[in-house]
C-alpha cells in the first residue's frame, strides 16, 4: 500500500466522526443530569430513568410500537422476499413494469404523501384506525426495502446451485426450501432488521394512520419534544441508542469472527 494518510485526511476524519457522534454523546451525558434544565449541569442522577420507568403512557406507547414493529416487519419480510423472487426470477409476466415501479416508488416517496394516501384509503373503506392500520402501512413501505435487500442477494446467487438441486430430483418448491432459502437467509434476516428499525423509527406515517386509541413511541416523543428539550426524553434516547449500538457492534463482531473462521478453515482445507 502506497496510500498515506495526510494530516488533512486525519483532520477531516476526526472532525467528521466528532460531528456524527458528539450530539448523541451530549444527549447521553445530559440524561444523567440532575437538573430539569437540560443545558445546565447540576450533578449526576439517574432519576429521569426512574421517572421513565414509572411513566405509564410511555410504556404503553413502547408496547404498541413493539407490537407494530414485530408484526409489520415479519409480514414485510415474507411479502418482500416473495416480491424479490418475482422481480429476479419470474421473468416476464403481465404488469411487470408496474410491479417493479410499485416496489421502487415507496423508497423515494415522501412520508407525508405515503401517510396521507393510506389514511385517505382507510377512511374511504371505513377501516377503524389503530394498531392494525399502522401495521398495514408499515408493512407496505418496509416490504419494498426488504425486497431491495433480498433481490440484491438473489442477483449474486449462483443459479447452478438451484439447477444442481433440480438435477438431483428436487421440485422447485423443495429447491427453494432446502437450497435457496438457507443461502439467502442472511439477507432475509437483514431485511427483517431493516423493516423492524424503519417501523420503530417512523413518525410521519404512523401519525397519519393511527387512531385516537393507539399512540406509538415516536408519536409520544414527538409531541413531548415539540415543546422543548426534556430530560426524560434524553433518558429514553440514551436507552434506544445503547440498544442499537450494542446490537450493531455485536452483529459486526459476530460476522467478523465468522469471516475469520471461514478464512482459517479454507486455508486448512487447502492444506489437507
Amino acid at each position: 500500500m502506497n496510500k498515506r494518510l495526510s494530516w488533512f485526511n486525519v483532520t477531516s476524519l476526526s472532525l467528521g466522526f466528532a460531528f456524527l457522534y458528539l450530539p448523541m454523546l451530549i444527549l447521553i451525558f445530559y440524561s444523567f443530569n440532575a437538573s430539569k434544565l437540560v443545558t445546565v449541569w447540576a450533578g449526576f442522577s439517574t432519576k429521569w430513568y426512574v421517572a421513565l420507568m414509572h411513566d405509564q403512557p410511555f410504556l404503553d406507547a413502547a408496547w404498541v410500537t413493539l407490537k407494530v414493529a414485530v408484526s409489520s416487519s415479519t409480514l414485510a419480510t415474507v411479502l418482500g422476499t416473495m416480491a424479490a423472487i418475482t422481480l429476479v426470477r419470474a421473468g416476464r409476466f403481465p404488469g411487470r413494469t408496474l410491479f417493479s415501479g410499485m416496489i421502487y416508488a415507496p423508497l423515494v416517496m415522501p412520508d407525508v404523501i405515503t401517510g396521507l394516501s393510506l389514511l385517505l384509503l382507510f377512511i374511504a373503506i371505513g377501516l377503524d384506525r389503530g394498531i392494525f392500520t399502522i401495521m398495514l402501512a408499515h408493512t407496505t413501505f418496509s416490504m419494498c426495502y426488504v425486497s431491495v435487500v433480498v433481490s440484491s442477494r438473489l442477483l449474486t446467487f449462483d443459479r447452478s446451485l438451484e439447477e444442481a438441486s433440480m438435477d438431483l430430483g428436487a421440485s422447485s418448491f423443495t429447491t427453494f426450501r432446502l437450497v435457496t432459502l438457507p443461502i439467502i437467509l442472511p439477507a432475509v434476516v437483514s431485511g427483517w432488521l431493516l423493516a423492524f428499525t424503519l417501523s420503530l423509527d417512523d413518525l410521519v406515517i404512523a401519525s397519519f394512520t393511527t387512531g385516537p386509541s393507539s399512540t406509538t413511541l415516536p408519536i409520544k416523543i414527538f409531541s413531548a419534544v415539540r415543546l422543548g428539550v426534556s430530560p426524560e426524553i434524553n433518558a429514553l434516547s440514551t436507552l434506544m441508542i445503547t440498544v442499537v449500538a450494542v446490537g450493531v457492534v455485536g452483529a459486526s463482531l459476530v460476522s467478523k469472527r465468522a469471516i475469520l473462521k471461514q478464512q482459517r478453515e479454507e486455508q486448512e482445507g487447502e492444506r489437507v
Binding site: 444442481a164 433440480m166 438435477d167 430430483g169 487447502e270
Partner: protein, 382 residues
C-alpha cells in the same frame, strides 16, 4: 482403432445392431435470433465416455443443458433409452450433471451434499447410509464426510461434486468442464481417476470441455464442435490422424497447413496426388483418402512430429524440402524447429531431444532438409 485395453475392443458405434442410449435427431436451438445449435444429429452409446469439444460459445454447453433438461430444443427430438424426453423436467430425468462451478450446497456437509439426491427419491435411511458410504469410498473422501464445502480443497470439492452426481446411479452423467478449476498437475491426475471411476461404475459419461488434451485423454469418442455445428465425431486417434477438415486439424494439436493445387499422380500408389504449392518448390507427394479432381484447390495438413530434420535429405521418404532454421522452441523432451523454405513458407518440425542440449545437431541459421513420407500428411478439401 485400438483403445487403452486392446483385448476388448469397445466400439458400439461401429456395430449397426447396437442401440444408442442417447439419440439426438436434427436438434436446433435458437435464443432469439441467435442459433446456438444448428441441426445436430448425435448418437451416444451405453458405457461410452463421450467428449463435446470446442471453443467457448460453440454450443457445447447448450447441447449438454438440453440433455440435462435445463433447455428445450427449438426443433428436433432427444430420446434417452428410447424415451422422448421433451416433456420430462430435469428433476424427473435419469440424468445427472456435474456443474462447472461444482454447485456444492455451501450450507450442507459433504455427506449431506452426496445424500441430497437419494433423499429426494425417497430412499430408505439404510440405503442412503450405504450408498453415500460407497460414494465416499469411491472418491476417497471418507475422512471429509462431516466437513462443509468451504473446509476442503479444490480437488476434494471436485470429487464431492462427482460423488454427488453419481450417487443416484444415473444412466447418463454429464460433466461440464469438470477439471477446469484445477491446476495443471492435479488435472492430469484427476483425468485418470475420472476414467477409472467411469469404468468401475459403468456409467455413460458425456463431458464438455474446451481442452483438447483433456478430451483426447479421457474420451472414447470426441465430437468437435464449432459455431453450433458438429464438425467431426470420431475416436481421439482418428480425430488426430484423420481430421476431416482444416478446422479440426487446426483445432487439435499443432499442424502445418500447405495450400496448393492437386494433380493426380499416376506413377504413385492408388489415390496418390501431388500438390504444387509454390514456384520452384518440389510438389508434395501425398495419398488422398477421398477422390480429388484434377487441379482442385486442396489443403495438405501435416503434423510437425511427422517431419524429420536432417543435414541430408532422407532417401527413404517421398517428400523433401530445403530451408533455413529461423526459430527453435526448446520444450525439454522435444524441440520444435521453424524452418523457412525458399518460397518463404515456414514449416514446423518436432524432434525428440534424445541428446543433451549442448550436443544438439542443429542451431539457428543452419540450412537443413525436411523429409516426410507420402502417407504422413492428409489431403483435405475444406
Amino acid at each position: 482403432m485400438a483403445q487403452a485395453k486392446p483385448q476388448i475392443v469397445f466400439d458400439p458405434w461401429n456395430d449397426p445392431k447396437a442401440k444408442p442410449l442417447i439419440q439426438c435427431r436434427s436438434i436446433t436451438k435458437r435464443f432469439g435470433d441467435f442459433t446456438a445449435i444448428d441441426n445436430i444429429d448425435l448418437n451416444i452409446y451405453e458405457k461410452e465416455f463421450f467428449a463435446l469439444l470446442g471453443p467457448s460459445g460453440c454450443g457445447k454447453t447448450t447441447l449438454m443443458r438440453m440433455l440435462a433438461g435445463f433447455e428445450t430444443p427449438t426443433e428436433g427430438k432427444i430420446t434417452i433409452d428410447g424415451q422422448d424426453v421433451a416433456q420430462v423436467p430435469p428433476n424427473k430425468r435419469a440424468v445427472n450433471m456435474m456443474f462447472q462451478s461444482y454447485a456444492l450446497f455451501p450450507h450442507l456437509s459433504v455427506w449431506e451434499n452426496i445424500a441430497f439426491g437419494l433423499k429426494r427419491e425417497g430412499a430408505s435411511k439404510e440405503r442412503i447410509e450405504e450408498r453415500v458410504a460407497e460414494m465416499l469410498r469411491l472418491t476417497r473422501l471418507e475422512k471429509f464426510a462431516r466437513r462443509k464445502p468451504h473446509q476442503i480443497s479444490g480437488g476434494q470439492r471436485q470429487r464431492v461434486a462427482l460423488a454427488r452426481s453419481l450417487a443416484k446411479a444415473p444412466k447418463l452423467l454429464l460433466l461440464d468442464e469438470p477439471l477446469g478449476a484445477l491446476d495443471k498437475k492435479l488435472r492430469q491426475d484427476t483425468q485418470f481417476e475420472l476414467m477409472d471411476i467411469q469404468e468401475r461404475t459403468g456409467t455413460t459419461f458425456v463431458i464438455v470441455t474446451h481442452d483438447q488434451e483433456e478430451a483426447m485423454t479421457v474420451a472414447s469418442r470426441v465430437a468437435v464442435m464449432n459455431a453450433g455445428v458438429i464438425m467431426q465425431i470420431a475416436t481421439p486417434a482418428d480425430i488426430y490422424e484423420q481430421p476431416n477438415s482444416v478446422y479440426v486439424a487446426d483445432f487439435i494439436g499443432d499442424v502445418n497447413i500447405i495450400e496448393g493445387n492437386a494433380s493426380v499422380d499416376k506413377s504413385g500408389p492408388e489415390g496418390a496426388v501431388s500438390i504444387a504449392y509454390a514456384e520452384g518448390q518440389d510438389p508434395v507427394h501425398a495419398v488422398a483418402t477421398t477422390p480429388v479432381t484434377e487441379g482442385a484447390r486442396v489443403f495438405y495438413a501435416i503434423r510437425p512430429e511427422k517431419i524429420t530434420v536432417s543435414h541430408k535429405p532422407d532417401p527413404d521418404r517421398a517428400n523433401h524440402a530445403f530451408g533455413k532454421i529461423i526459430d527453435i522452441a526448446y520444450l525439454g523432451n522435444i524441440s520444435t524447429y521453424r524452418v523457412e523454405l525458399a518460397s518463404g513458407k515456414v514449416i514446423s518440425a518436432t524432434m525428440t531431444n534424445a541428446r543433451r542440449l549442448e550436443r544438439r545437431a542443429f542451431t539457428w541459421e543452419d540450412e537443413v532438409w525436411l523429409s516426410w513420407t507420402r502417407t504422413a500428411g492428409i489431403v483435405l478439401t475444406n
